[in-house]
């Protein structure tokens, strides 16, 4: 588990994070969301130990800082070194013995699709290849905790799919993964927990299903909705929204649902779909960010 307690971080007069507290559960895929300048990269660098909090503390349970796997937002490597040379250096600095290092390097090169180009110099690599090298070095020591800053940046669509699968595979192997991204669709697909930052404040945090739950609503779709029935529903339940053949019931109110369904069934209306809908992450995100701005974040 990673525990962030009342952390404040300033760059001169600019407050990057203000009294931030959150917990990353062990074994979770934790998505850090927020607009540019929200403090995501600062938080990851604080966890990785590159920066020090002005106030508050960060605790890593069961893992030392140097045992983390870290993927920076814009990975950078010595340009005159080959991919294989760099991985060997990274392994040796991590204290891996020779044989294990060779095996680990071969495995991560295979995982990231760099086996065929391992003798290429970094200077000759495309941005996508550099990104994959960054992933390879992060996985080299089989770390228990991975910090991924914009892991999908610079990857083509195929590589993005591979990256998503890789993250899910690592999660299944019990790794704790903290990733920052602007790609809400990816977060919805792979993250178990999220935190939304806005201007250095924590706007929302928790398991993804809980963060989305308060905005749950229910949807009833019918094949056709007689005007009289629609009018009757509107009269009895003004909170219900009707659009063509879709009837949206806010919240979890069973009484409203029962009343609407009774009206529809009495009128022998064919119900095509009935399901509980959640607010999209995009809606939650926008609301969280806007409310944080409204409540006054840093200027």
């Amino acid at each position: 588990m990673i525990r962030v307690s009342h952390v404040t971080k300033r760059y001169g007069s600019v407050v990057a994070l203000r009294d931030l507290s959150l917990q990353v559960p062990a074994g979770s895929i934790f998505g850090l969301l927020g607009p540019n300048g929200a403090g995501k990269t600062t938080l990851l660098r604080l966890i990785a130990g590159f920066l020090f909090a002005d106030e508050g503390r960060i605790e890593l349970e069961g893992c030392a800082t140097f045992e983390l796997g870290y993927l920076p937002e814009r990975p950078s490597f010595p340009r005159r070194f080959t991919i294989a040379e760099y991985l060997e250096l990274a392994g040796r600095l991590s204290g891996q013995p020779g044989l294990r290092l060779r095996e680990a390097a071969a495995a991560v090169l295979q995982q990231t699709g760099l086996s065929q180009v391992s003798d290429w110099k970094v200077a000759a690599c495309s941005r996508g290849m550099v990104q994959r090298l960054a992933i390879a070095q992060a996985l080299l020591t089989d770390p228990r905790v991975l910090l991924l800053d914009e892991p999908f940046g610079g990857l083509d669509p195929t590589a993005q799919v591979v990256m998503r699968r890789l993250i899910l595979d690592l999660h299944q192997r019990g790794k704790t993964i903290v990733l920052s991204t602007h790609r809400l669709a990816d977060v919805t697909q792979i993250c178990s927990d999220i935190a939304i930052l806005s201007r250095g404040h924590l706007a929302r945090s928790g398991p993804l299903h809980q963060v989305l739950a308060p905005r749950a609503h229910q949807l009833i779709e019918v094949d056709r909705l007689p005007e009289a029935i629609a009018w009757r529903i509107g009269q009895l339940h003004p909170e219900v929204v009707i659009q063509d053949t879709e009837i949206t019931l806010p919240g979890d109110a069973m009484e409203v649902k029962a009343g609407v369904l009774r009206l529809l069934l009495d009128a022998q209306v064919d119900i095509v779909r009935l399901e509980r809908e959640h607010a999209t992450l995009e809606e939650v995100y926008l609301e969280a960010v806007q409310s944080a701005i409204g409540s006054g974040g840093r200027p």
Partner: protein, 260 residues
């Protein structure tokens, strides 16, 4: 140790795969040609010991700055992260600077042996080597403080100010190689309202600079006493303290390294 060795190898590879690395070798060759070959009638022991030692101590300092500044970029994030603490990273930088300047010093010294007026004896080598080693280590440790990698707040400015002050005072006399550096600070009491009360200031400077003065005497004359034989050791202790301070500054520094 394996981690440190891997780091030193990396830093040296990075240096010598660049133009800067070639420039360092060229600088040593130019120094040899200008300071050793072009001296008419050969060089005496004093000159040999002090000029080579002094030049390569300064080269160690410059190399520590250069290597540290080459490491002061975003590509070092992922290397520093892998170390249990940050201090070994600085140790790697200092060791790389000492290794290069030491090897070049040995090379230039070997090339210069035929230029010596009096033949080099084993005793002379035993006198000179510890002194040179202590100067190189101190030079590299000071160089760390001059780099952006280690700088925190006004730390570098303070060091520059201190070195500028020492160089200024050393240049007050135009006579050749300094022997007793404390003599150069005997003006201190005289600028005070009551000179007699401030005589201790000269003594203090004498004590602080004693290792350097003594090491210079050892390198020049040899045949030193027990106390002077400790001078290189004291300089190494001083270098260790300077390195320790660099480590303390670097260990708790916010690393915001520039992108390539």
């Amino acid at each position: 140790m394996k981690r440190l060795w891997a780091l030193v190898r990396y830093l040296l590879q990075d240096l010598f795969r660049s133009l800067t690395g070639m420039l360092v070798v060229v600088a040593a060759l130019v120094f040899y040609l200008m300071a050793m070959v072009s001296v008419k009638g050969g060089v005496d022991r004093d000159y040999f010991a002090l000029v080579i030692g002094g030049f390569f101590a300064i080269l160690a300092l410059v190399l520590a700055v250069v290597i540290a500044d080459r490491a002061h970029q975003a590509s070092s994030y992922l290397l520093i992260l892998r170390l249990p603490s940050r201090t070994p990273f600085l140790a790697g930088v200092a060791l790389a600077a000492i290794a290069v300047s030491g090897l070049l010093a040995v090379g230039v010294a070997l090339l210069s042996i035929p230029r010596l007026v009096t033949p080099l004896t084993a005793g002379m080598v035993l006198d000179i080597v510890p002194v040179w080693a202590s100067w190189l280590v101190l030079g590299a440790a000071l160089g760390l403080h001059m780099s952006e990698l280690v700088r925190r707040g006004w730390s570098r400015t303070l060091l520059y100010a201190l070195l500028a002050f020492i160089l200024f005072v050393l240049n007050q006399r135009q006579s050749g190689v300094p022997v007793d550096l404390a003599d150069r600070f005997d003006w201190i009491p005289h600028i005070m309202p009551d000179p007699a009360r401030w005589a201790w200031a000269t003594k203090l400077v004498d004590v602080i600079l004693w290792p350097i003065s003594a090491a210079i005497r050892v390198a020049r004359a040899g045949g030193y006493g027990l106390l002077e034989s400790l001078a290189p050791g004291v300089l190494l202790l001083l270098a260790a303290a300077v390195f320790g301070l660099a480590g303390a500054l670097f260990e708790r520094k916010d690393l915001i390294l520039p992108e390539n």
